[in-house]
Amino acid sequence: MATTTATITLASTDLLSDELALTTTATLTGAGNSTGLTGTAGLARKTVTGGHAQYTLFDGSDYTADKAHKLYLKNTSTTAAEYFLITVNSEDVGRLYAGDWALIPWSAHDNDNDIKIDPSANDMTLEYMLFTDE
């Protein structure tokens, strides 16, 4: 069985009166079981030359519904104002600004549950990886 882990560290010395230092690790397993995720799409990079428009990154119909897929995204831009708007189906999740990353649980709930990206400028590059629960 494959073992995939995801560790996050959130840290700040000056946001609160006391230091914030939060670290946790998840072993990525299938929905409702302890079997490690067995599939992946990526690691990959995509440069969107066309600029502002919505593109489908992952199609919900290509993946088993209601599973424990996990999606990693990173905006490699170094221009602070540039962001990718991340959307699931037609619902905006959030803006991934330059250098930001995200780890999103994705259920591929139905055929319309696509992961979509919309860059704010031309020639922006997204790094991404999908761990699948098939």
């Binding site: 995939t4 995801a6 700040s12 946001l15 690691l43 600004y97 995200a102 780890l103 649980p105």
Partner: protein, 137 residues
């Protein structure tokens, strides 16, 4: 300005070669490198099964660079919370899983709802943001 960093490391033996991906970002306000996110909301809640709850009760400023962290502390692998954004099912956090996402809160309906499945789930969350609209008392 406050400086808050968020780092991730992904490791796996899924592939023929070992995978190790790391990234770190400083959580900045939207579109700037000069001013970090300086407000946060942090908590731990027990969520009983059956009802959808807004994990963030206030209304953060829309379309900014807010970041939301949620962890499911359940140890039972069959327990999970369903994460829904304005009626759109995003995904499920099983026992031990965490997520870190940009959160847009683009309109009044863009609440992040969680529903516990399997049993009572213990959820830890942190929202880093640029401001919220508090409910008048």
């Amino acid at each position: 300005m406050a400086t808050t960093t968020a780092a991730v490391t992904l490791t796996s033996d899924l592939l023929s070669d070992a995978l190790s991906v790391s990234a770190s970002t400083t959580c900045m306000k939207a579109g700037t490198t000069a001013d970090g996110l300086d407000q946060m909301e942090y908590g731990v809640v027990e969520i009983a099964t059956g009802t959808a709850y807004d994990i963030i009760c206030s209304t953060p400023t829309a379309s900014k660079a807010s970041k939301l962290y949620i962890k499911n502390h359940s140890t039972d692998e069959t327990y999970y919370v369903r994460v829904v954004l304005d009626a759109q099912n995003i995904g499920s956090l099983y026992g031990g899983d965490w997520m870190f996402i940009p959160a847009d809160f683009h309109d009044a309906n863009a609440d992040i709802e969680i529903t516990a499945v399997g049993g009572t789930n213990i959820i830890e969350y942190a929202l880093f943001h640029e401001g919220t609209i508090l409910t008048a008392s």
